[in-house]
């Protein structure tokens, strides 16, 4: 290790109702330029007003990552010209970020964060005939002014896999804190990467969307750097073709000429305010692990796995309200994951909700269906959604627990299998299992094993 150095600059859109500096809806219309106003269009004379919720959400992340929090925040103007800019300056935090010196803990590593700060999103650009050949761009300002958190790591990541794990963990935390909606909000990263072989000459790769792409882009770039000459430059990640290519070298580095934005005013972040937000923080992963193992008494490994995935954790908690947490944990962690892996799908992609899981596990816990039946049902649920109780009824999958009925069957089997009975009586334990097996077959697998066992023992 130590041959690769990676630093990430992640931009995560926050899940607020309105934009950062204007009261436009952040979502709700796909038609271009229908979620705009003079402010996010940068019309002359318009002025920004800060969205309180953004500060609160930023503080949640700062607290969750143990950042030092600035006692007073201000905003700056970063001036540069691009067709997606509404004012040709971006309002961001340059001098004093809201959070600094935080950490995100991976399984095997603590990733130090340099800073977390608030800034606004530019508009969305489309190139009608591809980036290289379009003679004009189309601009949609619906996105302009949406609130972003920028999270910058120290260059301490050492592999594309680690970068991917970091992104995954960050997304989990953002989900946990309820400040990010995976379905609506975008998360992008710029990566700085350098390798020892090329004297750690740093290359910046811009605009990588999502954690799967991070791994792809960085894997490609490391290989490219090994093979080609490496100069300090900025490259773009081309997801379709799986390559990075050089952004046209600029004649001179644009100087952003930062000044304070005096359309905005300093915001005090008092200790009381921080305390209030801390108290309202949703439970974090490590807190869940503690609660799962100490209060709910589930296996620590199960706790770890479940809490690391926001959706799994939500499912587990709901299901544990209806069945024993230990059962819920085992099934959520192992059985559910097993079938998802086999079908190569994620939990978000299948329509298994906590209702289906709860129904299924309640039947299992109450001894109404067998383990095998349950496993078969969950396999089917991956394919399509259905009501578990109805399915069990319609397909007659309920365990037969009628003692008399089972006793009769046992008697019948014993009569039919005198030889096996004698085998058992002379000490062959396996013979007993064969008898149980026969009874089960007779009941088409729906016999209550315990009752069968007891009945056979009694009758023999």
């Amino acid at each position: 290790m130590g041959d690769v150095k990676i630093g990430l600059e992640v931009h995560a859109e926050l899940d607020t109702e309105t934009k950062l500096f204007c009261p436009c809806h952040t979502h709700g219309s796909d038609a271009p330029n229908t979620l705009t106003c003079p402010i996010c269009l940068g019309m002359p004379g318009s002025k920004p007003v800060l969205n309180k919720k953004v500060v609160e959400y930023a503080l949640r992340l700062c607290l969750a990552t143990e950042c030092k929090i600035a006692p007073e925040i201000i905003f700056s103007r970063k001036t540069y010209f691009y067709p997606d800019m509404s004012k040709n300056y971006q309002i961001t935090q340059y001098e004093i970020p809201i959070g600094s010196e935080g950490v995100i803990k991976l399984e095997n590593k603590d990733v130090k964060l340099k800073r977390i700060h608030i800034e606004e999103d530019p508009a969305a650009l489309t190139h009608p005939s591809g980036m290289q050949t379009s003679t004009y761009v189309l601009v949609d300002y619906n996105r302009s002014g949406r609130p972003l958190l920028e999270i910058v790591t120290e260059p301490v990541l050492e592999s594309p896999e680690e970068a991917r794990d970091f992104m995954k963990k960050l997304i989990t935390i953002l989900n946990y804190l309820d400040i990010f909606d995976q379905n609506e909000c975008i998360i992008k990263a710029d990566a700085n990467i350098s390798i020892k072989e090329k004297k750690f000459t740093r290359v910046e790769i811009k605009n990588i969307t999502g954690f799967k792409e991070i791994e792809r882009a960085l894997k490609y770039e490391i290989e490219r750097q090994k093979k080609e000459k490496v100069i300090q430059e900025t490259r773009a990640w081309d997801s379709d073709n799986g390559v990075t290519h050089s952004l046209r070298a600029k004649e001179s580095e644009d100087d952003y000429g930062y000044i304070l934005d005096s359309d905005l005013v300093p915001i005090e972040i008092s200790q009381d305010y921080i305390k209030k937000i801390k108290a309202e923080l949703p439970e974090l992963a490590h807190e869940k692990i503690q609660r799962y193992t100490e209060n709910l008494k589930i296996d620590p490994m199960d706790a770890q796995v479940i809490s690391s995935d926001y959706q799994l954790a939500k499912m587990f908690e709901k299901v544990s309200e209806n069945v024993s947490p230990i059962l819920a944990a085992r099934w959520v962690r192992r059985e559910l994951s097993r079938v998802l892996n086999y079908a190569k799908k994620t939990l978000e992609e299948v329509k298994i909700t906590d209702k289906e899981m709860s129904d299924l596990l309640m039947l299992l816990e109450q001894g109404k269906i067998t383990q095998q039946t349950a496993q078969r049902i969950i396999e089917k649920l991956v394919e399509k959604q259905f009501d578990v109780n109805n399915y069990v009824k319609e397909n007659n999958l309920m365990i037969v627990s009628n003692a008399k009925e089972l006793e009769d069957i046992c008697r019948k089997i014993l009569k039919q299998n005198e030889k096996i009975v004698n085998d058992y009586k002379s000490g062959n334990e396996k013979a007993f299992m064969a008898l149980v097996g026969q009874v089960m077959r007779e009941t088409k697998g729906k016999g209550n094993p315990k009752i069968i066992n007891d009945a056979l023992k009694k009758l023999i």
């Binding site: 003079p38 300056y89 005096s262 905005l264």
Partner: protein, 423 residues
């Protein structure tokens, strides 16, 4: 006088004096405190569907889709908006010559009205109808033309009047203010347009000092180094005063003001690039080429000068010595004023060091000499202090202005001075 006649008079005056960039096609009368008042608006303030250019070619044809907050307030009180007055491009100037439509002094057409609110001052002097002008000051753009045109120019404490809808020159320096022929009209309009606006983050939510007692007046010593006639006019009008020295203001306010104003302006003007509004070109070439083309074709020379200087003062390597340093010196200058206000209720100086110069004289001035004309007004503007220019007499048949400055939120003291003033 009917509104039709008012607009006719405006058109006639305009033919001779160039005070308006736009004259309204009609001026409906409303009801409220401003009923029967006709209001002109400096061209940097948004009036919905009325061309708003801020004196610049780059915004030719631009019609905002919203009103500035103060315009809504004025309309609500029944004020009739008669048009947009000419100004130096984006406020860049003290003589209103940095624009296509150059207004002429109402007393002498060969002379300037002052700037940047030249048109506003001109029409205030010339109008025969009931008129109040809405103007704007960044470094003295209300006081200067008021002084040159012989009318009252009032600039309130920074933050008292909403800037929402004001095309920015410099965000920490811009203030909307009022020009009129009599102080009661100023007071009337002030009470209507001031007040907290949640759409402007820098809008103050503070009470004005109700105390209007003026016990002690301090004349700023360093400002008396002017033409002796002007000096005499100023001092002869004051019953009772002491001399007070403000050395930091004298030595550093000009540099501090211009560094901050230009730095902010250079970012405010970045948005003018031929996208979404304003003058365009054909979409050819890449974005840098396109933006540069539009901006170079349609910004005037002074605008280019200030954009370049402003960009320079905030560039890496220069930012500490210029932009950040000036922001700190500003604090010291404000402190110097605050110290003086512990002793004095009002500070006084001539509004301008000269009478309105001729256009031919202005042509000979270097840019720096232009900037130095603001020597009296930049101080209070930099410190966000309320100030008022009143006519104190004439020199060579041209009006001379006296400027009273009060501490933050003591605007009422200035209204009080205006009321007691006799000319």
């Amino acid at each position: 006088m009917s509104s039709k006649d008012v607009l006719k008079e405006c058109k006639n005056i305009n033919k001779e004096y160039n005070y308006f960039n736009t004259i309204a096609s009609d001026a409906k009368e409303g009801s409220g405190k401003l009923k029967s008042y006709y209001i002109s608006v400096k061209d940097c303030i948004c009036v919905k569907d009325m061309e708003t250019t801020s004196g610049s070619e780059i915004l030719k044809g631009y019609k905002p889709i919203f009103n500035a907050t103060i315009i809504d307030k004025i309309i609500k009180e029944g004020g009739s908006i008669i048009g947009k007055t000419t100004q130096d491009e984006f406020g860049f100037g003290s003589f209103n010559v940095n624009t296509k439509n150059i207004p002429k002094n109402p007393f002498d057409k060969t002379r300037t009205c002052g700037g940047s609110s030249g048109g506003a001052a001109g029409i205030t002097q010339k109008a025969s109808f009931k008129h109040i002008a809405i103007a704007e000051s960044t470094g003295g753009s209300i006081a200067c033309p008021a002084s040159f045109c012989g009318i009252i120019g009032f600039t309130p404490t920074y933050g008292l009047v909403s800037r929402y809808g004001l095309l920015d020159y410099a965000n920490s320096l811009d203030k909307i203010g009022i020009m009129a022929k009599n102080i009661n009209d100023i007071e009337l309009m002030f009470n209507i347009i001031k007040g907290h606006d949640k759409k402007d983050s820098t809008s103050l939510n503070l009470e004005l000092n109700k105390d209007t007692k003026i016990k002690k007046i301090g004349v700023i010593k360093e400002t008396l180094n002017v033409d002796p006639e002007i000096k005499d006019l100023i001092l002869s009008k004051l019953d009772n005063y002491e001399l007070v020295s403000l050395p930091s203001v004298e030595k550093y306010s000009l540099a501090t003001y211009y560094i901050l104003a230009m730095a902010e302006a250079s970012t405010n003007l970045a948005k003018y690039c031929g996208m979404r509004y304003g003058m365009h070109e054909e979409l050819k070439g890449n974005f840098n080429e396109y933006f540069s083309k539009v901006r170079s074709n349609f910004f005037g020379k002074e605008a280019k000068r200030r954009i370049i200087l402003g960009t320079f003062t905030r560039m890496a390597g220069y930012r500490n010595a210029y932009y950040l340093k000036a922001a700190k010196v500003r604090t010291l200058i404000i402190n110097e004023y605050k110290k003086a206000f512990k002793k004095y209720d009002l500070l006084v100086s001539p509004t301008m060091p000269i009478i309105a110069p001729k256009f031919s004289e202005i042509d000979k001035l270097t840019p720096l000499e232009n900037y130095m004309m603001d020597i009296m007004t930049v101080g209070p503007n930099l410190a966000g202090l309320p100030h008022i220019s009143l006519n104190v007499g004439f020199k060579d048949k041209m009006p001379v202005g006296i400027m009273f400055i009060a501490d933050h939120l003591n605007d009422n003291k200035l209204i009080e001075v205006g009321k007691k003033w006799e000319m």
